[in-house]
């Protein structure tokens, strides 16, 4: 069957792409100097953040402007633990994830009563409340000064042979890879399928026997955990956490990364994070009006590639077909008309 052959060929290409990507990521510190390597580290971290946001936006169809709440919560948890209690890396990260999950479990019953624009507004106010709490609790959080001087963890067995940036890069890479692998497992499970179906038509999913509310609650908690993990890594990376990490602007940035890269695709948000951050750092080196240029590029991307960069090959096929005036779905369209006309009346 040609169809099976095609999918086997695709799988082989996919495998090759993974191998090349992993090799490139492993060799990066040997090739890149400190600055580009730190940008790459940031891309990995924000990629994970955007991917966790994508679980809500892309897979379940829940647009959120509050995902920075988890990003910030994870950051403050590891910040406080590492700075004041010298808690080692592993437990600190686990507690950060736990904090994200708990925060989601507590706020979920409130925000998940809604969907669409209302969900967006409620999640936005959630970050704002948290932002306010952190701002006011000066004694613990340092208020608007934040918590500086958080030690950046290192991989002990590489400590002698690598400089700190490369060392933390490998640490972050390992954690992000494990997190993404677990996310892939979740997305491919029947739970992941239920998420996609909820995005398409929640009521029908419920009619098939799924307590959809519980499914959404679970994915919200999961996304919270991943978001907090990304935030924890970011705090370690910067050696600092401040209320800015909770700001809805961070959540908005995550949304942009997800949408530009391709919401609802697995790798889209990671690609989006890379594009957004590279553009920002590149463009800002030659003009102060980098936000303007960035904005124009985003508009162009969304107009030309409405379903994200990752779906570019699909999009190119469509455009090519249109140029040749081919009808992509000709046989299917032809089958339908007569029936629908007949029954519309009765």
């Amino acid at each position: 069957m040609p169809m099976e052959q095609m999918s086997r060929l695709r799988q082989r290409w996919q495998l090759l792409a993974y191998v090349v990507a992993v090799a490139a990521l492993l060799l990066a510190p040997a090739v890149l100097s400190t600055y580009p390597l730190s940008v790459l580290t940031e891309i990995l971290i924000f990629g994970l953040f955007a991917m966790s946001l994508n679980l809500l936006l892309g897979y379940t169809g829940l647009p959120t402007l509050g995902h920075s709440a988890f990003f910030g919560a994870g950051g403050y948890v590891v910040g406080l633990l590492a700075k004041y209690y010298q808690v080692p890396l592993g437990p600190a990260l686990l507690l950060a994830i736990l904090a994200g999950v708990v925060l989601a479990l507590v706020t979920g019953p409130i925000v998940l009563r809604t969907s669409g624009a209302y969900f967006l507004m409620l999640t936005l106010s959630l970050t704002q409340v948290l932002f306010g709490v952190v701002w006011l609790a000066r004694g613990v959080t340092g208020g608007d000064d934040g918590l500086p001087g958080i030690p950046t963890p290192q991989l002990a067995f590489l400590a002698g042979s690598l400089e700190p940036t490369a060392n933390f890069y490998y640490l972050a890479l390992a954690i992000v890879v494990v997190a993404i692998a677990s996310m892939a497992w979740v997305v491919r499970s029947s739970f992941g399928l239920a998420l996609l179906a909820i995005r398409e038509n929640e009521r029908v999913v419920e009619g098939l026997g799924y307590p959809t509310w519980l499914v959404k609650y679970a994915v919200y908690a999961l996304a919270g955990g991943y978001g907090a993990l990304a935030g924890a890594l970011y705090t370690f990376f910067k050696g600092y956490v401040g209320p800015g990490q909770l700001s809805w602007l961070v959540a908005g940035e995550g949304l942009v990364m997800t949408i530009v890269g391709g919401a609802g695709t697995f790798w889209g948000p990671m690609v989006g994070a890379a594009v957004v951050l590279l553009l920002r750092y590149e463009v800002s080196t030659f003009t102060q009006r980098w936000l303007l240029i960035l904005g124009l590029i985003f508009i162009a991307t969304v107009v030309l590639m409405p379903r994200g960069i990752v779906r570019l090959p699909e999009r190119l096929r469509e455009v090519r077909a249109r140029v040749r005036r081919e009808e992509l779905l000709e046989p299917v369209a032809g089958e339908r008309q007569p029936a629908e006309q007949v029954v519309e009346r009765s």
Partner: protein, 242 residues
């Protein structure tokens, strides 16, 4: 199997169901007939607890379904084939089916496995990797029915399965319903297409303004052209649709 007793219900101020009573026996196919707006779809929504206002008794094997969330009604063995073929458009055909799969219950006569489904609907195996939207209307209807069967229902509620289908596909739907009947499934079938409904049904109810105004066996209704003309008045249209 499924009993509705003196059910009243609706959405806003007005009531759509006005003391409706009906019963679907074990292994029985029951046709729910009536003009548009008579309350056929609302009856099905009532069973699933989807009406904001509802009174009366709804039981499955003597156990009340009132106050249960829709997923809980489904979990107890009621499956709905919704009007308008609500498939998940961006999922593949196989994924659409997998969403439905539930472990079989002890009391079922037929256990629906994917193999069983593919035997009944060979087209779904062929189309497995296609997205739902690329299917024809008839294929989408097959997919919706198949998906519902995989939830291992005791009762299947079919809301106008022939709506919007080409005659040859309506024929196919009729065949499928016959096969399901042979398999011992209890079915409540809302239909505008009288020929289709009466070809499978054992019993028929005619609804008007949310209550039953005629009930009897399918043969009685088939023979009684007076009832057909008075209460349904769509004999001609229905045959056109078929």
């Amino acid at each position: 199997m499924l009993e509705l007793h003196e059910v009243y219900g609706g959405y806003g101020d007005g009531l759509v169901l006005n003391g409706l009573s009906l019963s679907v026996g074990e292994g029985q196919v029951v046709a729910l007939l009536g003009r548009n707006g008579a309350g056929k779809t609302t009856t099905m929504r009532a069973v699933f607890g989807l009406l904001p206002r509802l009174a009366g008794r709804i039981t499955l094997r003597g156990e009340s379904l009132r106050g249960l969330a829709p997923y809980a009604v489904a979990a107890r063995g009621v499956a709905l084939v919704p009007q308008g073929r609500r498939i998940f458009p961006s999922l593949t055909v196989t994924e659409n089916l997998l969403i439905g799969v539930r472990p079989p219950r002890g009391e079922q006569r037929v256990r629906w496995t994917l193999e069983e489904i593919y035997r009944l609907f060979p087209i779904l195996r062929e189309r497995g990797n296609l997205r739902g939207t690329l299917l024809s209307g008839g294929e989408q209807q097959m997919l919706t029915i198949a998906r519902s069967l995989l939830t291992q229902p005791l009762v299947l509620l079919c809301d106008e399965p022939s709506e919007g289908l080409a005659p040859v596909m309506v024929q196919r739907v009729a065949e499928i319903l016959h096969r399901l009947k042979e398999a011992g499934l209890s079915i409540l079938l809302a239909e505008q297409n009288l020929d289709l409904a009466l070809s499978v049904a054992d019993v028929a109810y005619i609804l008007e303004e949310g209550r039953v105004i005629w009930q009897g066996t399918a043969e009685e209704l088939l023979a009684d052209t007076h009832v057909q003309a008075t209460y349904l008045g769509l004999r001609v249209e229905a045959s056109e649709g078929a």
